[in-house]
Symmetry: C2
Subunit: 510 residues, 2 copies
């Protein structure tokens, strides 16, 4: 058995059964090994940012890491920004990066690069396999790291793939999250019972069960509940505990957090501004605010909430959102009209991938009573994550409908995701919010104190001239598409997209 | 004056007057500073790989570095693969990477990343400015590094841009390339006069004047002449010294280099295989071959050729290519038909950007007698370089026509370049070779010894299902397009594209 075969066998033994791939010459033996493994689903991406973003989405929905297959240093580099996003979302990803055969590296061929150096800033775990015999053990370690929410990058020199002597390795058991210490829980309980207390939820603490525990804690103590601005995956909708988010704009965030002097962190970090501004604080809480952390991000956060609820004897049913869909106004697709169309159409079990940037800040209110669904945000802030994430989320969702909400500026970072949606026939309805600008930056110019902006600067923030025709873009990659500018037409288009069962793009003029 | 203004003033003083930009919040003051400087041409890219590839193309044609403007770590990461290509081409690029304000970095906001760590694998020079007062001096150093063909990455924290106290710096003089030592020239002269000698030309030794010197040396000594497989910029066409390249396929390269036991390197490296294969050597020359290096890549290589020609008293006119255009066969757009159509249409002064991968291996023969033109190859091997490079080459060319020859698989890495071509009205005719596959990889499967390939592996190498509609793709971004499948129609389409004076895309079925 060669090293490549031992790698595929080890991945499967470790529960890694999806591979988002953009292979090259140095990965041909791995491709051949994938070919021999019917249990491994290989998905071709035409740009690596689709592969890494898809792996992030796959983890968020399935809780299991997918593999990516990337071509040497530059292939990894192309996937780096969505690995940054995955890292900030605590999504585990297992990158398999091809490398020249070991004796070839010193020859400094054109594609030779410092792959480990490129990997390190976004990876928790990096290793270059040294022989075919070691590939299996390396892969098992990488899979264990990725299964616990880490970015693991396994670099596979060509000869370690093609040489005989491969030895598949058994899965390494994933460590159980550590239960919080009794004193930690005690201190948090004490804090939550005092006035002006907030329980802030982060990754691991935003699924349905964790939110129910958080809701019980709030009912028992009177504390406030909030999540961070961006959630890796937030369970929402009718019958679920509804929580607000720390707002994105600094002034609004300061206002929202002003009442709280005691904050218990379950998977969350102390809230800070997304960007720095000349005359605004970076820390969003009031000076002197006390923090108590009950859990790091990850599965331990849900555990800690359960322990907190138990310690409080909090068994009353929590307050949940009632069902309700908004009326669709007979007006244009402005933020309110879009929010109403979403609230009226989000189906049960929907996965909403939100990269709506400016357009989407009003979406939460009118969608709160829709049937139960999951809402996924960008936690790393690198745009171009939405459509790739939708690819992986749809594959992990096994038929669950996916709605991807994407600003046009963001969508232009990864249009290739549409092609993979078409090839795989994925049930993804993509809304492109075509404001034809990096609209967020128009506001940011003022926020950072720039006035008297001239045409040269404004042209750097505009996507006009030429306007992008998203219908042509979608059709170029085999995706059906339509354009709407009124809220009722948008609702009808979303329904048509969902009913199609495949990919569908709606260009929303706004 | 704030730091951002001092940066723009320093760039202009250092001869950097083009900026390929994809800005974000943290770069708003730099955008405002660009706005105030009419001499600075700012060009918006909708993905950073377009910005960095354009800077590479700009340097190859103008010999001067352009700036890029990138948004924090992930923005730099998105541009990394084309920086890898630029580095391997010895193209100077000055990256300005926005960063959070210094006090904000420790807060670990979503976009916080190890920017220096991301930059280092592709940069010769990396620095984070520490204050507004230091930005000018930092920028002058960065510009000096970039002017000498290096990748310089200047990281600009928000507060160093917006704080007052900026001090523009004067340009730092670019050091003259060192003249080769007398003994080096003497040893090379001796070697070139012996039988079985090859003069191998690399970056810096492939412009018209350097090739004339090389041609004189060959005439005086009887040595053979060759360039590396990939040239940053090769002067070709009627009246110029014609040189062959070291072939890409290993077996052909071994055959081509077999006669030579003595190789003089002018800007070139000892030839090695692009990839490693299980049963082929990585070193392409015969064991025991002697090498003599007269210059590193860069301007010194032309200088060394001049010194060599002088030492040889080689004043006879070199052998040059005669003018001549091929007949266009009345057949399909197969590699030969495409080569003939190119040979029949390449106009004087044309810049040919070649990312044709498999389709283009036959192009050199039939284009050798076209009017004088420059031919640019990918030296780093990371695909997606062609259309971005064409953007920068066209801007540096100030009206020179550009032909970009791009495989469909490669073009899908950076389709956003079409939008920038449309916005800037650039005279770029793009030929997309639509073989609807990563065709090179089909051959590579066999080359690495993989047989019995199944449908799952083949689907990873195919761009069918869905086929990409390049006409729709081009039109979605405002670029006129047509599709051809016969060589005469291709020649007509190239002429139409060139005559349009703007961007034009031809989908070439093959």
């Amino acid at each position: 058995m060669n090293g490549a075969d031992s790698l595929v066998k080890t991945l499967l033994a470790s529960g890694v059964d999806h591979c988002f791939a953009n292979p090259g010459t140095s990965e041909m033996h791995f491709v051949a090994a994938l070919d021999g493994a019917a249990e491994m689903k290989s998905v071709l991406a035409l740009h690596e940012t689709v592969a890494t973003g898809a792996a992030d989405g796959f983890f968020r929905i399935s809780g299991r890491p997918a593999a990516t297959l990337l071509h040497l240093g530059p292939g990894l580099a192309n996937g780096l920004s969505n690995l940054h996003n995955a890292k900030k979302a605590h999504s585990g990803v297992l990158n398999v990066v091809g490398e020249h055969a070991l004796p070839h590296i010193a020859l400094d061929a054109p594609l030779t690069a410092d792959i480990e150096g490129i990997a390190r800033p976004v990876s928790h775990w990096v290793r270059t396999s040294r022989s075919a015999a070691e590939v299996g053990d390396d892969a098992a370690e990488a899979a264990a790291a990725a299964s616990s929410g880490q970015i693991a990058t396994l670099i596979l020199p060509g000869d370690t793939a093609w040489n005989e002597g491969g030895r598949p390795a058994a899965a390494i058991a994933r460590p159980e999250p550590e239960a919080p210490e009794a004193e930690t829980i005690e201190a948090a309980v004490k804090m939550l019972r005092e006035p002006g207390a907030l329980l802030l939820l982060g990754p691991g603490a935003t699924d349905e069960a964790a939110l129910r525990d958080a809701g019980r804690i709030a009912a028992a103590t009177g504390c406030a509940l909030m999540t961070e601005w961006s959630n890796a995956r937030l369970a929402r909708g009718a019958g679920r505990v509804a929580v607000g988010r720390v707002p994105y704009p600094v002034d609004q965030a300061l206002e929202a957090l002003r009442p709280f002097r005691r904050i218990v962190l379950a998977g969350a970090k102390p809230p800070v501004a997304f960007f720095a501004y000349p005359d605004k604080p970076g820390v969003l809480t009031q000076p002197g605010t006390e923090f108590a952390k009950v859990a790091e991000p990850g599965p331990g956060a849900a555990e800690a909430l359960r322990a907190l609820a138990d310690a409080l004897g909090a068994h009353d049913a929590p307050k949940t959102a009632g069902p309700g869909r908004p009326e669709i106004p007979a007006g244009p697709t402005d933020p309110n009209g879009i929010a109403a169309a979403l609230g009226a159409t989000i189906p049960e079990g929907c996965i909403v991938v939100d990269e709506s940037v400016t357009t989407g800040r009003a979406f939460f209110g009118l969608t709160a009573g829709a049937p139960p669904h999951d809402w996924l945000n960008n936690r790393g802030g690198s745009i171009g994550y939405g459509m790739p994430l939708a690819v992986g989320a749809a594959l992990a969702g096994k038929g669950r409908p996916v709605l991807a909400l994407v600003g046009d500026g963001s969508a232009m970072y990864s249009p290739q995701a549409l092609w993979t949606m078409a090839r795989e026939g994925l049930p993804v309805t993509v809304l492109i919010f075509a404001n034809r600008s990096y609209r967020i930056l128009r506001g940011e110019l003022a926020n950072v104190g720039v006035s008297n902006v001239g045409p040269r600067a404004l042209s750097m923030l505009s996507l006009e001239d030429p306007a992008i025709d998203w219908l042509a873009m979608a059709r170029s990659m085999g995706v059906e598409a339509e354009r709407v500018s009124e809220a009722p037409a948008l609702a009808a288009a979303i329904r048509a997209g969902l009913a199609s069962g495949g990919p569908y793009l709606v260009e929303v003029m706004c």
